[in-house]
């Protein structure tokens, strides 16, 4: 039953990704703390520098593009804390990643229950 083929549209967050994304995920982990969220919002560039993000990670954060964050090693559980700062739900994040409107993405979810 096992099948080792890649799964389309899915990045397995493994050791290689965990190393690649460490700084980005560490920054997002810091957003559990309200003072850190406020410090980030006050000066995003300085905050990213403090956590040592590379340029690809910084640009993905500036652009708020989740697929780019994932490509740069971001893990969705930590990225969700970044999204939360801007009041984005997992439907907003899902819509952005699939190139759909949020309404269309929500409808897609509803249709799978019918």
């Amino acid at each position: 039953m096992t099948d080792d083929q890649p799964i389309p549209g899915t990045v397995m967050f493994d050791g290689a990704m965990a190393m690649k994304g460490y700084a980005l995920n560490k920054m997002c982990y810091s957003f559990n703390n309200r003072e850190n969220r406020e410090e980030f919002l006050a000066d995003q560039e300085a905050y990213m520098e403090k956590y040592g993000l590379n340029e690809a990670q910084k640009q993905a954060i500036r652009d708020k593009v989740v697929l780019d964050m994932i490509a740069a090693g971001g893990n969705i559980y930590y990225l969700a804390k970044f999204a939360g700062i801007f009041g984005l739900s997992v439907q907003d994040v899902g819509a952005q990643q699939t190139g759909m409107t949020v309404e269309a993405f929500k409808n897609k979810l509803l249709e799978q229950g019918r």
């Binding site: 559990n32 994932i70 559980y77 739900s89 899902g94 799978q112």
Partner: protein, 280 residues
């Protein structure tokens, strides 16, 4: 001696915590989900567990990638809920039973499951939402809790077989405790969902139905699946089904299904609830 009275599974989606805080029980979107829970609470009122062992995954509250244990157990007198960063209100602390936790740790490590032990442990929605669903209105302090955290954040995740066997070791550990405690096992998370990548929004009703149909009487059906198999069938975060298998392993050979509910969607997830009673 301690006994396992049965097991409960439930999804642990963070939005549920928000909906509970806003009393959305009768809201048309939420009603089909929340209406599934009263029969499970009635069952709990009948079997009266003293302790809940909660098998869940941390989503970046207690653990970060600097130290990511595969299996970790709490051994504290209380477990605090803390800010997860995106606004679900924090709730009062949960009660622990360190003496029972240490018995489980000693027994399971002797049984070859080398748990990380935590004398301080913050619990996130993976733990708090199921506790609130089964013990509403902050009544959850009527049971002691033992958090058992399984890594689903970073691959390699423990396989379905490994988790099922870990559950079996947990069951043996509970049954060897000399005090007359009644223990319920919560397997949280699932069912199918995927939050990340172009495949976000993936839900697989057929596979979820198979999970719910087989978890009581044929859980071993899933044990040859790999984690990639599970990700393919259930979605990247649907791999949390390993937590259901761990729960099932602890219940012993025979169980009776008392109740189930299944609803698509809550947030991005197919929500599954099942109530299994152990048959002595």
């Amino acid at each position: 001696m301690a006994t396992v009275v049965g097991g409960l599974t439930t999804s642990h989606i963070p939005a549920i915590g928000g909906a509970i805080a806003k009393d959305l029980f009768q809201d048309p979107y939420w009603k089909p989900f929340f209406d599934g829970y009263p029969p499970a609470r009635d069952w709990l009122a009948r079997v009266k567990p003293d302790v809940a062992v909660v098998i869940y995954n941390d989503h970046g509250l207690n653990f970060f990638l600097d130290k990511q244990p595969t299996f970790a157990m709490g051994a504290a007198a209380e477990y605090r809920n803390e800010d997860e960063g995106w606004g679900i209100p924090t709730i009062p602390a949960f009660r622990g039973d360190p003496k029972f936790s240490w018995h489980l740790i000693n027994s399971m490590v002797a049984d070859e499951f080398d748990l990380v032990t935590c004398q301080e442990m913050a619990v996130d929605h993976g733990f708090t939402v199921p506790m609130q669903l089964f013990w509403p209105d902050y009544t959850y302090t009527q049971v002691a809790t033992v958090p058992l955290c399984v890594n689903t954040v970073q691959h390699p995740l423990p396989s379905p077989r490994r988790c099922y066997r870990m559950g079996q070791a947990l069951g043996r550990a509970i049954r060897s405790y000399p005090e007359d405690l009644k223990v319920v096992i919560l397997g949280t998370g699932g069912l199918s969902h995927q939050l990340d990548g172009q495949r976000a929004g993936f839900i697989n009703k057929a596979f979820d139905t198979l999970c719910m149909d087989k978890i009581a009487d044929d859980p071993e059906y899933f044990l040859d699946m790999s984690i990639p198999d599970l990700v393919r069938e259930a979605g990247a975060q649907g791999a949390e089904f390993i937590l259901w298998l761990a729960m099932r392993g602890a219940l012993g050979d025979r169980v009776t299904e008392r109740h189930r509910n299944y609803h698509i969607p809550i947030s991005n997830t197919a929500a599954g609830l099942i109530c299994l009673e152990s048959v002595a």
